[in-house]
Amino acid sequence: MAPLSDDQATEESDTDTLALPGDGLREGIVDDLRERIGDALIDAHISPNDDLWVRVTTDGWKDTGTALKAAGFDHFCFLSAIDWMPSPYGTGEDDPDAEPKEPDTEIVQGVTGGETRLQVFARLTDLDRHVGITIKADVPDDEPLVDTWTESFAGANWHERECHEMFGIGFVGHPDLRNMYLPTDFEGHPLRKDFPLLARMVKPWPGIVDVEPMPEFDEEEKNDDQKEDESTEGESS
C-alpha cells in the first residue's frame, strides 16, 4: 500500500498504550476531582476497568467541567439530560378495554442517585489515558436552570441547545439558546416523559385485535390451546 508521498504523515504511535490502564486509575481520577472541586462532588460510581460516573451539585456543574478539562478530560463527548419520571402514557401497546393500570409515578434515579426529576449528564474523554467519565447533576424541579459549559467546551453549545428544547432546561450563560429542531413557537419539551408521542396515540394498536372466539367455545379446549402455544414458545427459545 503506497501512502501518498506525504512525508508529513506521522508514524504509528507506540502500541504500548493499547493496554487499558487498570482500575486504580479511575479511583485516582475521582480523588483528583475531589481535590479540585471539593464538596461539590456528591457521589462516584466505578465499574472496575470499565466506566466511571460522578454526580456533582447543581452549583458545582460548571466548575466540574472546568476542573475536568484541566485534569486532562478535554475531549467533549456529549451533554444531555434524563427525565426520571416514568412515562404516564406507556408504549401505546396496551389493550384499551383492559382496566387501565395505575401509572407508575415513582421517580427512581439511576447510577449515583439523585434528588430531582430531571438530571443533566455529560461525558468527557481523556484521549491520552483512553478513559471516559460521565458527570451527572440534578436540575432543580422548580427552576430548571444549570450553568453552561460553553466556556470550557465549545462543542457544548449545540448539545445545550438541543437539551434546552427537548427538556426545557435553561443554561445560564449560554450565548444562543434558540431551538435547533423545533419551530420557535413550539410548546412543550418532547423528550420529557409527560410529552405524549402522538404517533402512538392517534392510531389503535393492531396487536390488540384478538381472534374472535366461537360462541360454543368450551373451557377444556381453551386450556389445550394455551398449552400448545407455550410449548412452541419453549421450543424456539
Binding site: E12, G110, S152, A154, W158, P190
Partner: protein, 390 residues
Amino acid sequence: MTMLSDRQQLSYIASQAADARLNVELETEGMTLNIGPQHPATHGTLRIICRLDGEQVVWAEPSAGYMHRGYEKLTEVRTFPQVTTLINRIDWLGSFANEVPFILAAEKLMEIEAPPRAQVIRTILFELSRIANVSLFLGDLGVQMGAITPVFLAFRDREYVLNLIEGATGGRFHPNFDRIGGLKDDLPKGWIDETRQVMIKLQQFCDTIEDLLFGNEIFQSRMRGIGIIPADIAKSYGLSGANLRASGIDYDLRRDQELPMAWDKADWRVWTHPDGDSFARCWVRLQETRESCKIVEQLLDQIPAGPIMTKVPRIIKVPEGEAWVATENPLGEMGYYVVSKGDLGPFRVKIRSASFNNISVVPWALKGVYVPDVITILASLYFILGDIDR
C-alpha cells in the same frame, strides 16, 4: 487558539475587517446566502446561513433539524430488538455500524457476550459498512469540487460491498442483522471467497481515487491549507473519527478500548495527519479505507467455528442499569447511553452521533473562507444528515 496557520490568521483578520466594514455607512451591504436546505453540496437537508462580504464568509451558521425524526423518543416506546431497526437509519450509509454499539450496550447490561464467531463476523460487517460509507465519501468529494467521474466510480465499487452486505444480511442499506447475544444468521456459502475478491477491487478503487483525485494538483490546491482545525479546537468541539485524527490526535476507539469485537485480531494501523486541513481529513479517510480492507482480509481467515448466538431468553428484558458504549463508526465516535429499568424497552437512550459534533465546528471553521471553500470544508468534515438530526 494556539497553533493557527498564517492563512487562518489572515482570513480571520480579513473577516474581522469585513465585520467592521459592514458597520460603516455608505459601504456595500453584506449579502446573506442560504446554502440549503435544498442544495447539492449538503447531500441532505442541511441549511447553512452565510453572511458574505463579496465571496468571503463573514459569519456562518448551520441550521439542522430538517430531518429530525426523534429517535430518542421513539426508542422509549420500543422493545430492545425493535430499536435496531430504527438506529439503522441514523447514519444510513454505514447502517450495520450503527447497530453494533447499541447491541453491545444492551449486552453489557445483560452481562452476556456474543460467541467468538459472531464477534468476528460482526467486525467484518462493521468494517464493510465503513468501506461502503467512506468509499462513497471519496467519490462524493470529487462532485463537491466539480469532478463528476469519481462519484460514479465510487458508486460502482460500493455496489460490490453493498452486494456483500445484502448477501449476508438481506438488507443493502438497513441490515438489521445484529441481535442481542449474537447475529441473526450465519454467513451464506461462498461469501468469504467473494469478499476476498471484492476487497482487492476496493483497494484498487482506493488507488484509482488517489490517482484521479488526491494526486491531482488542482485538488490539492483546493484542499491543502483550507479549513484548518487545530487539535485543541477539535477536542473542545468533540470532533471524532478521521476529523480528530487529521488534527494530529492519535485516538481510535477500535484500538483504544476493550470491546467484545475482533479488531485486536488483525494487524492494522491508525493513521493520523498533522495538518488538520481539509486535505488531511480526506487523506486520513482514504488510508482508513485501505486499513479496513486489510482488517477484513485478515479476519476472513480467522472466523472460528461455532455458534453465532449465545443463550438469550426469548423475551428479552434488560436488567436495570446504565451503560455507555461507543465505537469508531465510519463518521466518528458513535455511542449510545442506554438507561434500562428492567423493562422490555429502554427507559432512555441518548444517541451520541458523530456528525452532530463534527458539524458543530462549522461556524468556527467557516469564518473568513471563500464560498467555494465552504463546500470543500463541509465535504471534508463529512456528515450524514441522519447522523446530525437523528
